[in-house]
């Protein structure tokens, strides 16, 4: 039903619940049509009957947007928006057009064509999951930076292995973790490596940095974390300090904490997987 005013999502109409929902997770059914003629009850009984490509002879309207879930089909629009920008430009105009036309032709039947910009994408149909991941990885890598993503790719290079060693060293030195059997009823959080090439002011390679990060997105409030807070100063405060120092003729100095977050002590019980490339085999069999 068009693009939401408040968020990035699409506005969708769910005829079963008769509610409008906003979601980014949209699948466009380009070739199917919605049977508006059938009653609410029928739809439940028949579990959503889809017409075929031929248009219905009765005066039902075609509609082709449906919420994700039952028939994994067509393409995932969210993935596309992560991709290249230029394609997106066209996409937007197209979508606006579509919004207008959907309002005009709500009552009459309407034919949906496949938007021209979609021609540049390979749809998810017929692809295996792995291939999809490859495409997604390719797009992300292409747009954001040249830094590697996969451990298997990185481990071949001496420079990245050194970076990972150094990260593991600082974690161990810091006594961040200890190996143990996972107590029954506890969950673990995955970890992954993030690789980044740091440049200096002259855009030359400064160092290769590997950071081990926990997949915090899988954490649940109340189970493995309670409160969150980020110590960020307000810009007003920073300027206030600068103005005051200027007024009094004081000098301002700056310090930077290396790996700051590794210093924080946890009050909750958190278990993580062993990181790729640094699985302790000896202890594994001992316990």
């Amino acid at each position: 039903m068009g693009v939401s005013d408040e968020s990035k999502g699409y506005r969708l109409f769910n005829p079963k619940t008769k509610r409008i929902v906003v979601s980014k997770d949209v699948i466009f059914e380009e070739v199917k049509s919605w049977d508006w003629g059938s009653t609410y009850k029928e739809q439940i009984e028949t579990k959503l009957v889809w017409g075929d490509d031929e248009l219905h002879s009765d005066d039902s309207t075609e509609e082709n947007i449906r919420e994700n879930g039952e028939n994994g089909f067509a393409e995932d629009v969210e993935d596309d928006s992560d991709g290249a920008n230029s394609e997106h430009n066209e996409g937007n105009e197209d979508r606006n057009e579509a919004t207008v036309s959907s309002q005009e032709h709500m009552i009459q039947r309407r034919e949906r064509r496949r938007p021209s910009w979609m021609g540049e994408f390979v749809t998810g149909e017929g692809l295996s999951e792995e291939e999809e991941v490859d495409i997604a990885a390719y797009i992300v890598q292409d747009v954001i930076s040249d830094d590697p993503i996969l451990f298997e790719e990185v481990v071949k290079h001496e420079k990245w292995r050194k970076a990972m060693d150094s990260e593991i060293n600082s974690i161990e030195k810091n006594q961040t973790w200890e190996l143990m059997d996972l107590p029954v009823g506890n969950r673990t959080i995955g970890v992954k490596w993030i690789y980044k090439t740091k440049l200096n002011e002259l855009d030359e390679v400064d160092k290769y940095k590997a950071r081990l990060v926990a997949k915090g997105y899988s954490q649940q409030y109340g189970i493995d974390f309670s409160e969150v807070f980020a110590p960020v100063a307000r810009m007003d405060t920073v300027r206030l300090i600068i103005a005051l120092a200027a007024c009094k003729g004081w000098d301002i100095f700056q310090l930077d904490v290396k790996s700051a977050f590794l210093h924080g002590e946890l009050s909750e019980d958190v278990y993580v997987e062993q990181p790729k490339g640094y699985v302790r085999k000896g202890k594994e069999h001992k316990v």
Partner: protein, 381 residues
């Protein structure tokens, strides 16, 4: 390999990057360290720590996640602090503050200059405006924007990227605050008209890339506030725009330009809304300053160009006004009675807050910009 057989995992004693509670755990750690070292946390600003010595010595530390800045009137205290920090954590000593949160800082004997020269260059490059023709003001004088329903739609992602970059630039560029806040109102359905307005701001930046704020040594120690509003300035819903500017040490330290949340019925009402908002900010800044220095207990002067608002704040007559205005009225009157703030009338020519609410004529724009302490980098060298 580890997934096979028994589940041998790592139990964390300390945080890892990516954990939800990592920033909080880090902050608790450093907060504990500061408490041990005899610092007081500023009650109005969690990230500000102050330590006083027996004499007049004072050490001020501000934390921004893993970056921290500190200043003091006592070199001995600073050296001791640095040593203890280096001992407790793995630190990089960056020396004098030069580059903090993307803001360039230049400390000179005459004062301190802050700007975002590099970031401005990057923004111009990103939006292919490096070769554009510079203009002298960010908005066409007395021009108005509206929803422009008939206009040709433009790519909203691109438009939002421009607005986002410009918003970050307002950290040292109060002169573009109004124009950026105006175009940001049309992010959902931008048209050619809005994109043109955005490009004009970029062209203005092209001509003023090395502008920044200069805080003079020995400048005014007391806060001075200006407030102004643009009555029913929005063409689409007749809401007004509030603006305020706070000056300290002859430079601007805090500013705002914002569409008011409510529709108001008169220019006095609209002024109540903006003065109340400025008074809140004034109270917060006073509290922080009181922590930073011992002084600052005189009432903060708020310059305002609506004389009936000033009169009403002194002489409590309020006729049958609706509740949302009454609440603000009482709030202000109490602050004035307690001597926390004082409302003073000021002429339109000195009204710096006009920069936050109106598309001014070039000459006025330049004068007021100077009054905020904004100068070109070359002027201080």
């Amino acid at each position: 390999m580890s997934e096979r057989g028994r589940s041998i995992k790592f139990k964390l004693h300390k945080a890892l990057y990516g954990l939800r509670q990592a920033p909080r755990a880090w902050f608790s750690r450093i907060e504990e360290h500061f408490t041990q070292e005899g610092f007081q946390k500023c009650p109005s600003e969690q990230t500000l720590f102050i330590k006083r010595s027996v004499g007049e010595g004072i050490l001020i530390v501000s934390i921004y996640v893993d970056d921290l800045i500190y200043t003091s009137n006592d070199i001995g205290m600073m050296l001791k602090f640095k040593k203890s920090m280096m001992h407790a954590f793995d630190m990089t000593d960056l020396g004098k503050m030069r580059f903090f949160l993307g803001i360039e800082v230049l400390q000179k004997p005459e004062g301190i200059f802050v700007c975002q020269w590099k970031y401005t260059k990057d923004v111009l490059k990103k939006f292919a405006m490096l070769e554009s023709k510079p203009v002298q003001s960010p908005i066409v004088p007395s021009s108005k924007l509206n929803k422009d329903v008939e206009g040709t739609a433009v790519d909203d992602t691109y438009f939002k990227q421009i607005v986002g970059s410009l918003l970050y630039l307002t950290a040292t560029r109060p002169d573009i605050m109004l124009s950026v806040s105006l175009i940001s109102r049309y992010m959902s359905k931008p048209t050619e008209m809005h994109l043109q307005a955005a490009k004009r701001i970029l062209r203005y930046l092209k001509g003023t890339t090395s502008y920044g704020i200069f805080y003079k040594k020995g400048g005014e120690e007391n806060l001075l506030a200006f407030t102004d509003s643009d009555y029913a300035g929005d063409e689409d819903d007749c809401k007004s725009t509030s603006g305020y500017v706070f000056l300290l040490s002859s430079g601007v330290v805090s500013w705002m330009s914002k569409k008011q949340p409510i529709v108001t019925l008169s220019s006095t009402e609209v002024e109540f809304v903006v003065v109340a908002a400025s008074a809140c900010q004034a109270m917060w800044m006073k509290r922080v300053l009181r922590n930073l220095t011992h002084t600052q207990d005189s009432s903060t002067i708020i310059m305002c160009d609506n004389s009936s608002t000033i009169k009403l704040s002194k002489n409590p007559v309020m006729h049958g006004r609706s509740k949302h205005i009454r609440v603000r009225f009482h709030f202000l009157r109490d602050l004035v009675q307690d001597g926390e703030i004082e409302l003073v009338h000021c002429g339109t020519k000195e009204q710096v807050a006009d920069l936050m609410t109106k598309a001014l004529k070039l000459e006025t724009f330049q004068t007021l910009r100077k009054n905020m302490g904004m100068v070109d980098f070359s002027e201080i060298n």
